[in-house]
């Protein structure tokens, strides 16, 4: 049998990327330069007007900034919540580890609509959360949590936690336990050992976790749309409204390209900024 040329092995991946990433983006970028024309998908000819429009400030850039900021906040909150979970997961073995993995992955096992309707029920004015808080005497009046950005952040932290926990858990498992003992024996407190040894050595998990959650949070649409209400506009909501609501595909494509580019720039800047640390701690 003739050996397959090495390139053939990469072919499925190349095809997958071509069909599902490169072609759609090419189509989207092309679309973003087309002229708008009410009533049809796009008009004749090409123009950069949409970019001028979006970049000239106002509503669009505000929505972009708001989305990026919220994503940043969600990402950091996710890191804080996930690190202790990842630590316990990395120390567990056997059945306990299996159970913990299931718990960590549980937010992803519920469909996005069910999960968000669940949140609606829980935080409803006469929902279980308010009833518990009222009966405990912690509050006098029911909290109005629905349609707040706080609830959106909470719900997104909840669902993105696995994407932070799993890579950090992986990195923590890769740390030789003896280096922790070495640090302690040299006089470092638990805190100093965490700060100087464990945290840097877990960075190969922190970095992908931060990137994954940031990108996911920037692009999240369903949860902000359902739990955030109509008061504040997020970039993904704008994109969908423009595409489906006003049926302005060229402008919608422009917004999507701007949002993706902004997220990409953030990821690249972060990767470059942490490049030296990654080089040092890579296994």
């Amino acid at each position: 049998m003739r050996r397959l040329p090495r390139l053939a092995l990469g072919l499925p991946a190349v095809l997958l990327l071509l069909v599902f990433l490169i072609l759609p983006y090419a189509e989207m970028i092309t679309m973003s330069f087309r002229a708008s024309q009410p009533g049809t998908m796009h008009g004749a000819g090409f123009t950069a007007d949409h970019y001028r429009n979006v970049m000239s400030g106002g509503l669009y850039l505000e929505a972009l900034a708001r989305s990026l900021l919220l994503a940043l906040f969600i990402t950091l909150a996710c890191l804080v919540v996930s690190y202790p979970i990842a630590w316990h997961l990395s120390r567990a073995s056997g059945r306990k580890a299996l159970l913990l993995y299931a718990c960590v992955a549980s937010p992803l096992m519920i469909g996005v609509l069910i999960r968000n309707f669940g949140w609606m029920i829980i935080v409803n004015v006469d929902g279980p959360l308010n009833r518990v808080l009222l009966s405990l005497g912690l509050i006098d009046r029911p909290l109005r949590l629905l349609f707040t950005q706080g609830l959106v952040a909470l719900a997104l932290v909840h669902v993105f936690t696995p994407f932070m926990v799993l890579p950090i858990n992986n990195a923590l498992r890769n740390i030789n336990p003896a280096v922790i003992e070495a640090s302690r024996s040299l006089g470092a407190s638990r805190f100093a050992t965490f700060w100087k040894v464990i945290l840097p050595l877990s960075f190969p998990g922190i970095q992908p976790g931060l990137i994954l959650v940031f990108v996911l949070a920037t692009a999240a649409y369903v949860t902000p749309a359902l739990l955030g209400g109509q008061m504040v506009t997020m970039m993904p909501t704008l994109v969908v409204q423009t595409l489906v609501g006003t049926f302005d595909w060229p402008l919608g494509a422009t917004l999507a390209v701007v949002m993706a580019t902004a997220a990409l720039i953030a990821v690249v800047v972060f990767s470059l900024a942490t490049h030296r640390l990654m080089e040092r701690v890579r296994a």
Binding site: V179, A182, S183, R184, L186, G187, A188, S189, L201, V281
Partner: protein, 352 residues
């Protein structure tokens, strides 16, 4: 610098007993080896001393004060790990200087101290390398320097040479001994290699199933082992079944062994049968027939500097010994063997 005293240390993992009443002492500046096969408890003992695990029972005292309640970060013990356990994200100077960050002293003093220790272990010029850019021998030197830089009260070494090739092993072993002696640091050294333990130690604790089988100087362990296990673990050993006829006093006993009557030393009292230890170097083939033992050579192997023979004695016991490589063996294989009785040793045949 301090003395260390371990008394009746016990550690169980479920039904498995890792340490079963281990008692040891190390005087100031002494190097004590814990020698034994894997699973004998030597590493567990070291980890108890370091404070990485808590013993179930017993006590560990440094300069007479119990340290069991002291966390490992406050014990001031330098530990050299088997796989070095260097901080992979810190360079050589940062690794070595790590322990100084938690001690008094200015940055300039820390740097001076790091330089000093790096000179001691011959690593000057490699300050900015990461551990992964070093050879195994260099990594081991960094590990040693990192433990020494804090001027520890005690140096704990866990199989420090296990991952080095034979030539490097000698170099690093002498380096360890030299710096330990120069700094007069009390040290515990875990190893399964008897030659290593002999060469480096002031005292050796031979361990067996969580117990100390014998705790004595290397000479004593080798020449006057307490039991068969110790004798066979510390070097080539021939064991002859010996019938003890009577004690002659002064530690001498008259025994029948290998088809001969011999007067040998031992740490009695013995009742009936015992085991006579005859190391290969205490046996020699003599051509004039004046040896106490007689036997037949059943196998001989030429090894260059020496020729190894296996000889079956008259009573059926077989012994191994070395002969000069050029000496022809008799054609029929029958030989007379002289046992240097001063170097033979009588041991009880069973240990309670």
């Amino acid at each position: 610098m301090s003395s260390l005293e371990i008394s009746a240390l016990c550690k169980r993992y479920g039904p498995a007993v890792a340490l079963d009443g281990v008692s040891l002492t190390a005087g100031q500046g002494e190097l004590v080896s814990l020698l034994g096969p894997s699973g004998c408890g030597k590493t567990t003992a070291l980890r108890c001393i370091a404070g990485f695990i808590d013993p179930d029972d017993g006590d560990i005292r440094a300069n007479g004060v119990s340290i069991l309640a002291t966390p490992s970060s406050k014990r001031d013990f330098g530990v050299v790990f088997q796989n070095y356990a260097l901080f992979p994200h810190l360079n050589v100077a940062e690794n070595v200087g790590y322990g100084l960050l938690f001690r008094k002293g200015s940055k300039a003093e820390r740097e001076r101290r790091v330089r000093e220790v790096l000179e001691q272990v011959q690593l000057v010029g490699l300050e900015h390398r990461l551990p992964r850019e070093l050879s195994g021998g260099q990594q081991q030197r960094v590990a040693l320097a990192r433990a020494l830089v804090i001027q520890p009260r005690l140096l704990l070494l866990d199989e420090p040479l296990a991952n080095l090739d034979a030539r490097l092993r000698d170099d690093v072993r002498w380096l360890i001994r030299d710096v330990q002696q120069a700094s007069r640091t009390t040290a515990f050294y875990v190893t399964h290699d008897q030659a290593e333990a002999m060469a480096i130690s002031d005292k050796i604790a031979v361990m067996k199933n969580g117990k100390v089988a014998q705790f004595a100087s290397p000479r004593e362990i080798y020449q006057r082992p307490a039991e068969r296990y110790v004798a066979s673990f510390t070097g080539e050993a021939n064991f002859l079944v010996a019938e003890v006829e009577r004690a002659l006093g002064n530690g001498l006993f008259r025994v029948r062994a290998g088809g001969a009557t011999l007067d040998v030393r031992g740490a009695g009292p013995f009742a009936g049968s015992a085991v006579l230890l005859a190391r290969p170097e205490s046996l020699a083939i003599v051509s004039d027939g004046t040896g106490q033992l007689e036997g037949r050579v059943v196998k001989s192997v030429f090894l260059g500097a020496v020729q190894h023979c296996e000889v079956v004695l008259r009573d059926g016991a077989s012994v191994r010994l070395g002969t000069p490589p050029d000496r022809p063996l008799p054609a029929d294989g029958t030989v007379s063997i002289r046992l240097d009785v001063d170097r033979a040793w009588l041991m009880p045949d069973a240990v309670p």
